[in-house]
């Protein structure tokens, strides 16, 4: 007869590495190869853990992957198979007493994923697929991904396991005392994301002792009903001996808090030995385990304990941030969307991710809680654009994302790229649509917006909206998507065209939120289309809708009045405890009102002696003032002065004035570029320094942006002086130099295709051919990556591409540039401009 502890607690094993080192593993030697060569040693370790009480043993496969084993002469599958066999032999040798399970143990690949590192999602996926396939074939009972610090890597691992095997999947991540992993993953976000992906158990391992992991485990338990795993270290290692200080009894005593928290899968990590597992068993049989008795969870098949589900906190997340879906108003930012925005469409077509990233940052800073991502552009490859944009946005904000598309392939591409848990926007009340999209939503465990609309036509009243919502809920129920993950969009229509619909929408929102008890969203801005003073109608409708139960409004967070009304609503509806957010938002408001005055004051106040007259000219002129020739000259110097001093607002203002009387090309050629040249001269003469040069370039860019916008609107000719590719070569991740060059080139009127960092030679060639590019700039900062620069040039030349190449970077010299066949060497951004001028002169 088993004791209650035996029945409920699943004991894992302790450290493998520590044990192997004691058995003769040398520093630098691969433990898994050692295990293949000395199976009897590893088998003995497994047996000692089994005898100490382990129910699950981790095979000696932690560090085997194709990246770590590259050039080792060993085959990944072969090493995994051998070590699984050893573990199985140990497990089987005690069969009859109880079933010992063998876990395929998988650690991090050892390189950081993009965007911080260079490892791509696809690479990581392939790496894990190989491991899992080999492990399952060799007879592992489950796969554990452990000691993970990057949620992106975990997602690649879990998807690889679920798509290529039928093994149960367990995941434990390693947290610091700060409550996050080194890569910034938050335990709540981990739990939400992995529960959504359908793993069978989640938890923590390594880094800290048992007590220190309590807050992270608590946070995980709040978000998921999945079984939770705890496998801590025996404290911290001593810097002289590398030894861990904690005793088995101390360890076990500290572990005793976990059953009370509903945790019943436990073992040890670094520094623990069989004696720790034994002590753990003794401590647990003495502890009161009644709490976990009530659970009914099977960690080997991922059956959750449904009885506690209602108390779980729902939310969507990125790796580092959770936005709760708790009925409080959360703002979904709508700006990443090309519909009706020429400049945005252009950015998508040109893969100008910088523009889109800025758009994301602006919304994040304005207070958005979730960002909607729509990349629907006629003729574009939507799935690949979706992946590109999702990754770009994630690299600069930690907001959860909403994938906005009606194309199943684009939705799946987006969900795959999202490092966290997302919302899908949207399905309509058409069975066919639901059957296409809901399986994808289910697979990734996303939330989904149901549009209360049928292909056959717009709903005419609240009742039709409600019927459509009910139909969608029937479908989501059928696919096993929980109600709390469904968000209904009752459709805000344009009040100037269908005036009676606004109230119908509100009635439907009220019914859906109160009676169907699901979240509500609305594309709020639609309401005021075609009206003057749109924001008045929008804000008024928004406030009424929130009162009716709209909790996830899709709005423009950069519109102050909208965010003000949401802040007010939150305060009035007790969603903002003590009105503290409201007070913080508005405390300084009156002082900020006279924005216009502030700018002109600043520009006239900083007039300098080397640009006489500039200050007064900018202060006195206005767009409506009649202009004599002499006035115009003064305007010219005003804009130049603003560029030189690095004042973007002033440059924008001056450009606005000039654009009324000059062509775009003339402003660029006669004003902006001469100003930049003057700045360049001062930089050459060491009167100013690099940050000031960039400040000037940034200021000029305010003018360029205005001109570009104007041209995009008018569909006019391009003002580009030529297209240049910039790339930091393969293997190199230091791209600040390249980015400085980019800013300066762009502000001289060149179009830059920025391929980023760690760029393979083939990608440079392919882009050069595709866009017929005449000049390519390559940067390398490290001596170790210089060969990649040489290789890139070789690839371009061998393909017979007629481009010129300019190279630069801290370790590049003029001699080296010549030696590797570059056409130009540029020691800084200024010299790159000279190279560009030389190439594009004949234009």
């Amino acid at each position: 007869m088993m004791t209650s502890a035996d029945k409920r607690i699943i004991y894992l094993d302790g450290a493998m590495g520590t044990m192997l080192q004691r058995s003769g593993l040398k520093m630098g030697e691969k433990p898994e190869v050692f295990g293949m060569q000395h199976p009897e040693v590893v088998r003995d370790i497994h047996l000692r853990y089994i005898n100490a009480g382990s129910d699950v043993i981790y095979a000696n496969t932690f560090g085997v992957n194709s990246h770590k084993y590259e050039g080792s002469g060993y085959d990944v599958s072969e090493v995994i198979t051998a070590n699984i066999k050893t573990a199985k032999a140990a497990a089987d040798s005690v069969s009859g007493m109880k079933k010992i399970r063998v876990a395929l143990d998988v650690g991090p690949i050892g390189e950081l994923m993009e965007p911080l590192g260079t490892l791509s999602f696809d690479d990581a996926y392939d790496c894990f697929r190989q491991i899992v396939t080999a492990g399952e074939k060799a007879g592992a009972d489950l796969v554990i991904f452990e000691t993970m610090t990057d949620l992106a890597e975990v997602r690649a691992a879990v998807l690889a396991a679920k798509e290529n095997s039928s093994l149960p999947v367990w995941v434990t991540m390693t947290f610091e005392k700060t409550g996050r992993t080194f890569a910034g993953t938050d335990p709540a976000a981990m739990a939400l994301t992995l529960d959504a992906l359908g793993v069978d158990a989640v938890g923590v391992n390594c880094s800290l002792g048992p007590v220190d992991l309590v807050p992270m485990v608590r946070s995980i338990r709040e978000r998921t009903a999945l079984p939770v795993i705890v496998k801590p270290n025996a404290g911290l290692p001593d810097p002289r001996t590398g030894a861990y200080a904690m005793t088995p009894q101390n360890f076990a005593r500290q572990m005793a808090v976990y059953p009370e928290m509903g945790v019943y899968i436990m073992g040890g990590c670094c520094g623990t030995q069989p004696s720790f597992i034994q002590a753990l068993g003794e401590a647990m049989s003495a502890a009161d385990l009644s709490v976990i008795e009530s659970g009914n969870t099977d960690s080997f098949s991922g059956v959750s304990d449904n009885s506690t589900e209602s108390s779980l906190r729902n939310g969507v997340c990125s790796a580092g941030r959770v936005t709760d879906l708790d009925g409080f108003v959360r703002v979904i930012g709508e700006r990443i969307n090309p519909t009706g925005k020429k400049r945005f469409q252009q950015a998508l077509r040109e893969h100008d991710m910088n523009y889109i990233m800025k758009c994301a940052i602006d919304q994040a800073e304005a207070g958005a809680d979730i960002l909607d991502i729509n990349v629907g552009l006629p003729g574009a490859d939507e799935p690949s654009l979706m992946t590109e944009v999702v990754r770009a946005v994630q690299s600069v904000t930690d907001l959860p994302l909403q994938i906005d598309s009606s194309t199943p392939a684009a939705i799946e591409a987006g969900l795959r790229a999202v490092n966290g848990r997302a919302i899908v926007n949207s399905v309509s009340a058409d069975e066919e649509k639901c059957r296409q999209i809901l399986p994808i939503v289910k697979k990734y465990g996303a939330c989904v917006i149901g549009l209360a609309l049928k292909k056959s036509g717009m709903p005419k009243n609240a009742q039709e909206r409600i019927e459509n919502a009910k139909m969608i809920l029937k479908m989501t129920d059928e696919y096993g998507i929980p109600r709390e993950d469904v968000i209904i969009d009752c459709l805000a229509l344009t009040v100037s065209a269908q005036q009676d619909q606004a109230m119908e929408t509100l009635r439907a929102v009220e019914y859906v939120s109160r009676n169907l008890k699901v979240h509500c969203t609305l594309g709020v801005s639609n309401i005021s289309f075609g009206l003057p003073m749109r924001k008045m109608a929008t804000v008024s409708f928004l406030t009424q809708a929130m009162y009716c139960g709209l909790d996830l409004p899709i709005v423009n967070p950069n519109q102050l009045e909208i965010m003000d009304s949401i802040a007010s609503y939150r305060a009035l509806s007790c969603q903002d405890p003590s009105c503290s957010a409201y007070i913080a938002r508005f405390a300084d408001r009156p002082k900020e009102t006279p924005v216009q005055a502030g700018v002109s004051q600043a520009s006239s106040g900083t007039g300098s002696s080397d640009n006489p007259g500039a200050g007064s000219a900018s202060g006195a002129s206005s767009p409506n003032a009649p202009e004599s020739d002499s006035d115009k000259r003064q305007e010219d110097s005003a804009i130049q002065n603003a560029v030189i001093r690095g004042l973007p607002d002033e440059v924008r203002r001056q450009t606005q004035i000039l654009i009324e009387c000059k062509s775009a090309m003339d402003i660029i050629e006669q004003d902006l570029i001469p100003a930049l040249d003057k700045v360049g001269e001062r930089y050459e003469k060491q009167f100013i320094f690099l940050p000031q040069l960039i400040n000037a370039a940034n200021a000029a860019s305010a003018g360029f942006d205005l001109i570009k916008n104007r041209i995009a609107k008018a569909d006019g000719v391009s003002v580009s002086k030529g297209t240049i590719i910039l790339a930091t070569v393969e293997g190199d991740i230091h791209d600040i130099g390249k980015n400085i060059v980019k800013v300066v080139l762009e502000n001289y009127g060149y179009t830059v295709i920025d391929l980023g960092r760690d760029v393979p030679p083939d990608k440079v060639l392919k882009t050069a051919q595709e866009h017929n590019v005449k000049l390519i700039g390559l940067s390398a900062l490290m001596t170790t990556t210089l060969p990649s620069m040489e290789k890139t040039i070789k690839v371009l030349r061998e393909a017979g591409h007629p481009c010129k190449v300019v190279v630069g970077g801290a370790v590049v010299t003029k001699e080296y540039a010549a030696q590797i066949g570059a056409d130009f060497y540029a020691k800084d951004a200024r010299e790159t401009v000279e190279a560009a001028r030389a190439v594009f002169t004949d234009r």
Binding site: M27, E29, E111, L116, S207, S395, I688, P691, I740, M782
Partner: protein, 249 residues
């Protein structure tokens, strides 16, 4: 355990990094005249101090656990691991590191990073404002140095009570101490698990604002045996040198 901290950055060092491109002897004066630049530096310094989360790992090994292979030439390729040696923790190749550890009883291996948080801020800043991004990057570089200095200072104080002294600090990539030591040093320290420092296939550390270093421990105070431009991979094109300046002065 030693926990390095930084409370402020060396402004002169930041000015020097900023003037790197120009190397103007006048730069201090010029900088001083530009209040906006000074404000920008202060702002970026603040961001670095607020965002940097220093993780540091170190181990002290007896010299008997280290094989010094002075016959190594960096051109010969990768550093082999210690498989062929018995009871050895790490093999270090090169004349310079052998000279550093000559006569020492122990050696300290250290890795520290400012963390992924700051890395993310740097990345975001490059999208929003390149000028701030540059100054921020420079401040972060100064912060890595400052943290390593603080580690050295604290360890030195600890050792002093045992009448032991530190040699100067030396890092892979300098002199003939090849960059390929990065991997065995980080593995010795378990740095990816303990501090979140990983290596790319091209031997670059991620997070980028990280450093590894080796120091000897000996029973007498000694002259700094290594250092100076001779060790530096950038000596052939250094703009300090071209203006008769030294980065370490």
């Amino acid at each position: 355990m030693i926990n390095p901290e930084i409370t402020q950055l060396n402004r002169d060092e930041i000015y020097r990094y900023l003037g790197l491109q120009s190397g103007s002897p006048l730069m201090h004066e010029e900088m001083g005249n530009d209040l906006r630049l000074d404000e920008q530096i202060s702002r970026c310094e603040q961001t670095v101090l607020e965002t940097a989360r220093i993780r540091c790992v170190y181990r002290i090994l007896p010299l008997s656990a280290i094989v010094l292979d002075a016959g190594y030439s960096p051109a010969a390729g990768n550093v082999s691991d210690s498989r062929s040696y018995k009871s050895v923790s790490i093999v270090l190749h090169g004349k310079d590191i052998a000279r550093l550890l000559d006569g020492c009883s122990e050696a300290v291996f250290m890795a520290l990073t400012l963390g992924a948080e700051l890395e993310r801020v740097l990345m975001k800043q490059e999208v929003t404002d390149m000028s701030d991004a540059l100054v921020l990057d420079i401040c972060a570089s100064a912060a890595v140095e400052a943290a390593a200095d603080d580690f050295e200072r604290k360890l030195s104080a600890e050792l002093k009570s045992e009448d032991k002294y530190l040699t100067n600090r030396f890092s892979p990539g300098y002199g003939d101490f090849a960059l390929s030591h990065q991997r065995p040093v980080l593995e010795l320290l378990n740095a990816s698990r303990a501090a979140g420092i990983t290596l790319t296939p091209s031997q670059l550390m991620v997070p980028r604002k990280s450093v590894t270093a080796v120091m000897g421990i000996c029973s007498d105070v000694r002259e700094k045996v290594l250092g100076g431009c001779g060790m530096c991979p950038l000596k052939s094109r250094c703009s300090y040198r071209s203006h008769n300046l030294r980065c370490y002065e």
